[in-house]
């Protein structure tokens, strides 16, 4: 009981610290890095529902991200609908898309699944370029500037965006926390560990995989809208590019499985990524991503349970010594 209270206290204090941080250090670069840290952590956490808990290594989450970003922007540009509403329209569309995509793709397992979802990402990207009358084609869609307009999800300073993404992150953490303790969550774990065994004890594998995909797609699409409003731009490369496709998996794998993995992964990767971009400039952006690729390969070879796994082993060793 006391440890639970201690944990809660720790959570509240760190949350207050996070709320106060940009007020104490108001440097825009610092806030920018904070925003992206929670952005990536949220992305990985939303991906985890399918990728980690259900154990289906999806390379199709860029599709949901893109649907979110495009839907809110198209509704805003063509019909003047506020992105706040468009965001949820996009999220519902993405959940439906997740069901539609899951229907064929969940029929295959493991490695085939990863590759097939990658194929779908390429397919959707081609379609978005082809239907350029609606999507702006390869040049993309700029979100028109309306100045400081909170009701249109636009702000002059970075600060509101920070609080929004922090709130987003808290929501996804709560969802994951509840998921870990729900029947649904246990079904997903059972599917991850042994699909055939899960089926043999009566878990409706296909149904729960689809449910996980819809939930994951819904939350990923919300992030798509956030990103488009923050950068005020979306194009097929930003939405469906290789970087976007691998991003959540990369962070999730680096951080490790479980509730806190995404945040740990993002807290390590984001500052490195953003400083490479800032100090080396766009020309060397690829160097940073090259290093990421290498890091992922090395992690899989030498510490497949991620940073969380290493930390766990470290604390266990400490406990063993003190005992």
């Amino acid at each position: 009981m006391t440890t639970n209270r201690l944990k809660l206290l720790l959570l509240v204090v760190s949350l207050m610290g996070l709320c106060a941080a940009p007020l104490l250090i108001s440097d825009p670069t610092f806030i920018h890095i904070l925003i992206y840290t929670f952005f990536f952590a949220y992305f990985a956490a939303a991906w985890n529902i399918v990728g980690s808990y259900a154990g289906q290594p999806s390379l199709g989450h860029a599709i949901f991200f893109g649907i979110g970003g495009y839907t809110s922007s198209i509704l805003f540009i063509n019909y003047g609908i506020s992105p706040w509403i468009g965001m949820f329209v996009g999220a519902i569309l993405a959940a439906l898309a997740a069901l539609a995509l899951g229907f064929p793709t969940f029929r295959v397992r493991g490695p085939f699944f990863a590759f097939i979802t990658l194929a779908f990402t390429l397919l959707i990207s081609l379609l978005f370029v082809y239907f350029h009358d609606y999507t702006g084609g390869a040049t993309g869609l700029p979100v028109p500037l309306k100045g400081d307009a909170p009701h249109l999800f636009q702000f002059n300073s970075k600060l509101p965006y920070y609080y929004i993404i922090l709130a987003f992150f808290c929501v996804i953490m709560y969802v994951t926390y509840r998921l870990e303790r729900s029947k649904f969550g246990y079904y997903l774990l059972a599917i991850r560990e042994d699909e055939d065994a899960a089926r043999s004890v009566g878990v409706h594998v296909f149904k729960y995989k689809l449910m996980a995909a819809a939930l994951s797609g819904f939350f990923t699409a919300l992030l798509g809208t956030f990103y488009t409003q923050y950068t005020r731009f979306i194009d097929p490369h930003e939405a469906f590019g290789l970087w976007r496709t691998f991003q959540p998996m990369l962070i999730s794998v680096l951080g490790g499985p479980g509730l806190w993995g995404p945040l740990i992964g993002a807290a390590i990767l984001t500052p490195i990524n953003e400083s490479i971009l800032m100090f080396l400039g766009g020309r060397y952006a690829t160097v940073g991503m090259m290093i990421y690729g290498l890091v992922v390969m090395l992690i899989m070879l030498f510490m497949p349970s991620g940073i969380v796994g290493v930390l766990k082993r470290f604390t266990r060793a400490l406990q063993a010594r003190s005992a």
Binding site: G55, P57, L59, F103, P104, T105, R107, V108, G110, P111, F112, A114, F115, I116, L118, A119, F120, L122, L123, L126, L127, V129, Y130, L242, F246, M249, L250, V253, Y284, T286, V287, M289, M290, Y292, G293, L294, V295, V296, M297, M300, L301, P304, S305
Partner: protein
Amino acid sequence: MQELLGQIFVQGLMVGGIYVLAAAGLTLIAGVMKIINIAHGELMMLAMYTTYFLYTLFGLDPLLSVVVTLPLFFAIGCFLQRFCIERLIKGPPMSVIIFASGLIFFAQNLAATLWTQDFKVLRGYTTITFELFGLRLTSTRLAILFLAIIVTVLLYILLSKTKIGRAIRATSQNVESAQLMGVNVGLVRVLSFGLGVALAGLAGTLLMTIYYLYPAVGTPFGVVALIVVFLGGAGSVFGALIGGLALGIVEAFTGFYLALELKDIAAYIAFIIILLLRPWGLFGRKE
């Protein structure tokens, strides 16, 4: 009209030849090791760059650079299997996929860093065009088709008639039994992976003669190769031959009748339909 249709058909066959080579390597690996090398297309891309630089720096004919790329990529494949994949297949189930995702990411950005995102073509490389039965053909495209068929036949002979082929097939059927019969399973894995990657290298080299080059060029080809493997069944070289040529032809006709931008989409859609109707593959057997 008939000539035009014939022309499109031949065009499709030639592109299909590349798919066959890429898929043959992938299907070999999939059959023996039960893993899918999703970085197959990226290895093709690296072979394309090798061919490109051998041509521009040393003037080596792209078709001849096969003598460099084949052994080089065989060695790369053996190295990857011996020092990376062998470790990973003992780890958590998704390790190989995630490792290969990292490899895709690494390879593409390596290419972008070293050689920029610019499109590259083999400048000044000329091919001989000639007419046969009223169809216009180029020498390189014909060479690709012939090589695809020859390599498939050779691979088929290797797998069905030789001792090492028997060891490879035994390993793909049952690892423990093969081991009990005295098959060096580790060696078989290294050789099959090396051979698979060497075929990706060959496909990349040949692709360079008819296509343009940029860092992300490999991904769609890797995906198409996987679709072919799925259609033909993992481990089936014959399936890869039929599937690859069929997909090439389907693409050529979609490009002609619908829109050039949609030619890639046809392969995906055909694939999705088959996935819905026969989730175990076109020639594969139901589990």
